[in-house]
């Protein structure tokens, strides 16, 4: 009798979550794959087109343009956030006067939403009146219309993404640093090792699994960058910041080519999954 009742209990406990997961996660993912096989307009499916959405994407210059823009973004953003967050984590790891204030300064952007960050940076990057130009003028360098120039706009956006996300990566790296025993550093110091050697011969090798997490997460973030672009440049100037998510947004919600947009989502997912998989394989061999 008692066992009869208890055997129902797990279903009652897990059931609501599983149901919501099925409706709002599993079903939409399945439906995204399904939609990507159709010419799907605002009023529903027009025709089954098989893999034509994918094939037409691969023949579309705009798609390849967005692919290279996203890759360019990742190529700037990922190394930058890995280096900066590692530097900050090493600097913030041990006790120091005012360490709590320093940590707060880098962690605070975590709670600022992307819209607020984007408008703040839009203002700071304004030509002539923005802080960035004013500071450059102080040291005698020329200002720019940062967000209006194809060469600079994507870089400016990658700096904003760095500003927002670095605290999160520092938290992850600090957790990793705590697991490296202090004795290692003490032994190295007795052997006359310098701090810079400690970094390359102790910290980075032992931090490898955590660094891998940081790199993979940063790549995942980079291929999903969206809010910063939408608010700061809307994909311009001249499409130079039209990342793949931006193209998906335009196809889906401006042209209402929902099947094609769903196909872009699937392609982004496949790219992220492939890159993550390669990273894990590569690093596992190295360790």
């Amino acid at each position: 009798m008692a066992s009869q009742r208890s055997s129902l209990l797990p279903y009652l406990l897990a059931g609501p979550y599983v149901l919501m997961f099925a409706i709002f996660v599993a079903y939409p993912v399945g439906r995204a794959l399904y939609m990507s096989l159709f010419d799907w307009g605002i009023f529903g499916p027009n025709a089954f087109v098989g893999f034509n959405n994918y094939l037409s994407l691969f023949g579309d210059r705009r798609f390849w343009g967005s692919f290279w823009v996203t890759s360019g973004f990742a190529a700037m953003y990922v190394p930058m956030i890995v280096v900066v967050s590692l530097l900050l984590a090493v600097l913030l790891h041990r006790k120091l006067t005012g360490i709590a204030i320093f940590r707060t300064a880098f962690f605070l952007p975590i709670v600022i939403n992307v819209a607020v960050a984007a408008i703040a940076f839009n203002w700071l990057l304004e030509p002539n009146i923005g802080f960035v130009d004013k500071m450059l003028k102080l040291v005698g360098l020329p200002g720019q219309n940062w967000l209006a120039q194809p060469g600079w706009a994507l870089f400016a956006i990658s700096l904003v993404a760095l500003w927002i996300n670095v605290g999160f990566m520092v938290i992850i790296l600090l957790a990793g640093l705590e697991n490296i025993p202090d004795e290692l550093y003490e032994a190295a110091r007795l052997d006359g090792s310098r701090p810079i050697h400690d970094l390359f011969y102790i910290t980075i090798p032992l931090l490898r699994p955590i660094l891998l997490i940081v790199i993979v997460l940063s790549i995942v973030h980079a291929f999903q960058v969206f809010g910063e672009v939408l608010i700061m440049t809307q994909g311009g100037p001249f499409g130079s910041t039209t990342v793949m998510t931006m193209l998906l947004y335009e196809e889906g919600f401006e042209r209402f080519a929902l099947g094609r947009a769903a196909a872009i989502g699937v392609v982004i997912t496949i790219i992220i999954a492939t890159l993550s998989f390669i990273q894990f394989r590569f690093f596992r061999r190295q360790v």
Partner: protein
């Protein structure tokens, strides 16, 4: 060694200053007349509360910041409550009970964690349109409920509670359900607080899905309204108003951060879930 410490301190000072300047500037100029922005000064020469008066009492192009604050507050409260109500029992069942399909379902949940949110926004929008939930708070709230992170953190916690505690309670005549409510939930309180804080943060700041499911200003939560305001052609002329709106709407999360920094940090550490 002494020099190394001083160098470390100086580097941190410079970087921290760089990181904090955007926010400090935002706050300072939100209290300045619009003309101060155009002058190109680092600190405003004049001060005013006009920007806040506009943000809190005026409605332009259907945008009202107080409405957005109200929307976000309702969304946050319901979403956090929903997440906790779904996650706590489910995590317990996944961690300590056997049931049909448990491992397969949990594997699917894990896989979903690695999928980008952008994958299903199109189909989710289509689903919400069919359910008539576009431009409703329910439309914003529902897809955020089966979030994986809380389930993950709590499952991890429940798995580590020793079996002896459960057995001892059962010896005293407790049922399985009582073990869960009287023993496990109180034990899990620190994890539950962590999940409450990071869920509140996610709920308030989430941008992509609310942007897609709302298109009338009266239904928009805070980040979407800020984006909507910034797209206004007169935004540049009224930067200070935009900054005031940005600060007012960020204030609840800044306070949450100052009060609950350690919970936020513990929720984001890899050991607690994000793998």
């Amino acid at each position: 060694m002494r020099n190394a410490q001083i160098l470390r301190w100086i580097v941190l000072c410079v970087l921290a200053l760089l990181w904090i300047v955007p926010l400090v500037a935002l706050v300072l100029f939100s209290f300045a007349p619009p003309a101060e922005v155009l002058k190109g000064v680092f600190v405003p020469g004049e001060w005013t509360l006009d920007n806040y008066a506009k943000v809190l009492f005026e409605t332009t192009r259907g945008v009202s910041v107080p409405t957005a604050l109200l929307n976000s507050t309702i969304i946050m409260l319901l979403q956090v409550a929903g997440i906790l109500l779904l996650d706590i029992p489910a995590a317990y069942a996944f961690a300590r009970m056997r049931f049909f399909g448990r491992d397969v379902i949990f594997f699917m949940v894990l896989v979903s964690m690695m999928m980008p949110g952008i994958l299903d926004v199109i189909s989710l929008y289509d689903l919400m349109a069919n359910l008539g939930l576009v431009n409703t708070l329910a439309g914003v709230i529902l897809p955020g409920l089966p979030r994986v992170i809380g389930l993950f953190i709590l499952r991890q916690f429940f798995m580590e509670v020793p079996k002896e505690m459960e057995d001892a309670a059962k010896m005293d005549g407790a049922t399985d359900f009582q073990v869960f409510t009287r023993i496990m939930i109180p034990l899990a309180m620190p994890s539950i607080i962590t999940i409450t804080v990071i869920s509140a943060l996610y709920s308030w700041n989430n941008f992509l899905w609310p942007l897609i499911v709302t298109n009338t200003p009266s239904a928009m939560p805070v980040p979407v309204v800020i984006a909507y305001m910034s797209a206004d052609t007169s935004a540049v002329l009224n930067y200070t108003v935009l900054l005031a709106a940005a600060f007012v709407t960020s204030l609840p999360m800044i306070l949450l951060f100052l009060l609950g920094q350690r919970w936020i940090v513990s929720g984001m550490r890899p050991s607690s879930g994000i793998k």
